[in-house]
Amino acid sequence: MRRALFAITGLAASTTALVVLKAGPDTSRVAQELPASATPGTEESTTAAESTAEPAEATATAVPRPSVSRSPAPGQSTASPAAGGAESSGGATKKPSVAQPSTAAPRSTVRRVFGPVVSNEFGNVQVAISLTGSRIVAAEALELPERTAQSEQRSSRVDDRYSGTAGLVVQRQSADLDTVSGATATSESYRESLQAAIDQAR
């Protein structure tokens, strides 16, 4: 038992040490970039805490999602794809056939699956998709890099192109998407998180 105590203390200490080591250097750089992140289009300002290397979960930008339409879900998780428009600006109903499930969202047949958080040098990307059966009816970016005005711009281009109930994701039904020019890294991270979500869903 003495050995177990020793092991537990040792691991706790080294975990703390690892975190401190990673948190240590150039925090100043992150802090500098912070002010630029106060941007329009997102409900919550991004804090330094969630700017990089976060695990698979929805960060502040995703806050509105759960409350909207979870309640009617028996067992399986649902959320209305319409709510997926939290930050996907455009193209609500281009194709009626696609839009239909989204209006019928509260029905328990809509499933929502989260992709993991993928980080690149600009920030984190996390994608969630909504499905009826195995069909993707909506995609949404819960988080996109927006630490600087420039990356915010790129992000919204990617988002407009891919997300929503009529975006490229819904059209293609796969993560096989054309790269948005000028936003290669974000496109790639988007596809990676999306692919993982699709793999999970199927």
Binding site: M1, A23, T27, A48, T52, A53, A58, S119, E121
Partner: protein, 470 residues
């Protein structure tokens, strides 16, 4: 069953001629083995520990963990990786893989398993609470609300929570005081839930683990480790025992009473000349007869390998051992082993001192055949009738030059008190500090002896313990 008086009536097989003593030539002294293998195992374990956290280290950009919640989540990720690794190590240690049993020994592995188990429990609880608090902070919820969201909305999290619940159950029932209070079978059945933990906890690592969801070497490596552990389980728990038992086809030959509450069970089988085991080792035995087949119990062999029969000497302490008295000859026996490093091969010095208490004599009796002349044996018993295998010990004293002292009486009698002191030991065995000491008996005696051996100057690594506890 027979009592010593009628001993000769029912003896069968080879031992009838020798009264249980090894027939034929004296066995050669077993050469010593180093402890290099064990160090290698520990080294590999530590290497794996580092390797399991490495993906986090390389994935995380320096300076990215600025906020408190980010730090909590990061610590949650690390503890998750550690917990995942430790869980696999735990199962691997229980795989009965022959190489592990040979290098580390079943009893030492059981001790490691207990320590790593406590660590694993803490790591899992830390992982859960850190991730919950971290995520809750990021999403602006209460940790409890966050748990609800994760259960409903995250892939594979319901089963992960179930796995954690089971693991806590397994961990808590293994706290020594709780375990003592439970019937062994109930505890054991609960412990089997650990396999369900392995299964239920599997998926969430890959759907939600930041380091593991991506196809790539890390994910592949992690899955490969899982596959390795499952393969080890299959081999150690199924294939190796199957091969062993098909080869040797053990059966009960006879059950002989040694004293009113102790019996010796003799086994015969095929190709026993090719059975490699050492005195002091044990098997897990399953007697395939009504009422017994569903339990497997560890017993040491009480005679060294002789190519013709095996023997265990069993003290009746509970329901299973009581049933064993009534075994009929011919009953098939399923054995898993041999196991244990409480053997002559694991000594660090040439000479040895053995200290036995009560039925703890059984493994030592087998070892005596394999230790060099000059070995000393101190045998602690309450009353003269508690002395087991008396004739064999006397025979070994002669044939192998073993000095035997029977120390009879209760702990507070003057005789035992005098012997069981540092001075007493040194008087009996002047070179005790230069010997390996093997202790086997009730926990009280072992602890007492261990302390006075340390006082008598015996280095820790020369002291070997067998407590009949796994």
């Amino acid at each position: 069953m027979t009592h010593p008086g009628t001993y000769s009536d029912r003896r069968t097989g080879a031992h009838s001629r020798s009264g249980g003593r090894p027939t034929g030539d004296l066995l050669p002294v077993v050469p010593r083995r180093g402890c290099g293998g064990r160090r290698l195992l520990v080294g590999l374990f530590l290497l794996g520990l580092v390797a399991s956290v490495l993906p986090w280290w390389t994935d995380t950009q320096a300076g990215s963990l600025a906020g408190g919640t980010a730090k909590l989540t990061a610590a949650g990720q690390i503890s998750g990786l550690l917990a995942g690794y430790l869980l696999l190590v735990q199962v691997l240690m229980m795989s009965r893989l022959p190489v592990l049993e040979r290098v580390a020994g079943g009893e030492r592995i059981a001790r490691w398993h207990r320590d790593v188990g406590a660590t694993l429990l803490v790591a899992v609880l830390a992982h859960m609470s850190l991730i919950l608090v971290g995520y809750a902070g990021l999403e602006g919820r209460s940790p409890l609300g966050q748990a609800g969201v994760m259960l409903r909305d995250y892939q594979d999290m319901a089963s992960a929570f179930a796995a954690a619940g089971l693991l806590v159950l397994v961990g808590l029932t293994s706290v020594r005081a709780v375990r003592r209070a439970l019937p062994y079978e109930l505890w054991h059945a609960t412990h089997l839930a650990a396999y369900a933990v392995l299964l239920l906890g599997f998926a969430h690592q890959f759907s939600n683990g930041t380091q593991l969801f991506r196809p790539g070497p890390v994910r592949t490596g992690w899955i490969a480790f899982y596959a390795l552990v499952v393969a080890a389980l299959l081999y150690g728990r199924v294939i190796a025992p199957l091969a062993f038992n098909l080869r040797h086809r053990l059966r009960v030959a006879d059950v002989v009473a040694e004293n009113p509450d102790t019996v010796s069970i003799y086994l015969t089988g095929a190709r026993l000349d090719r059975l490699t085991m050492l005195g002091g080792q044990f098997f897990r035995w399953r007697f395939l007869t009504r009422g017994c087949w569903w339990q497997s119990h560890p017993f040491s062999v009480s005679a060294a390998a002789n190519g013709r029969w095996l023997r265990m000497t069993v003290k009746v302490v509970g329901s299973h051992t009581r049933d064993l008295r009534d075994l009929d000859p011919g009953v098939r026996v399923w054995a898993v082993g041999p196991s244990g490093t409480f053997t002559a091969a694991h000594r660090t010095r040439e000479r040895a001192l053995l200290i036995a208490g009560g039925s703890g004599i059984t493994p030592l009796r087998a070892m005596l055949e394999e230790l060099p002349p000059g070995t000393a044996l101190i045998y602690r018993v309450r009353t003269p009738s508690d002395v087991l295998l008396h004739r064999e010990l006397d025979w070994l004293a002669q044939a192998r030059g073993v000095q035997v002292w029977y120390v009879v009486g209760s702990r507070d009698d003057p005789g035992p008190r005098q012997v069981m002191s540092a001075d007493g030991l040194r008087r009996l065995v002047p070179d005790v500090a230069r010997r390996d000491v093997y202790l086997c008996g009730p926990p009280g005696l072992i602890e007492q002896s261990r302390q006075l051996l340390r006082r008598a100057g015996v280095p820790r690594r020369q002291i070997h313990l067998a407590t009949f506890e796994l």
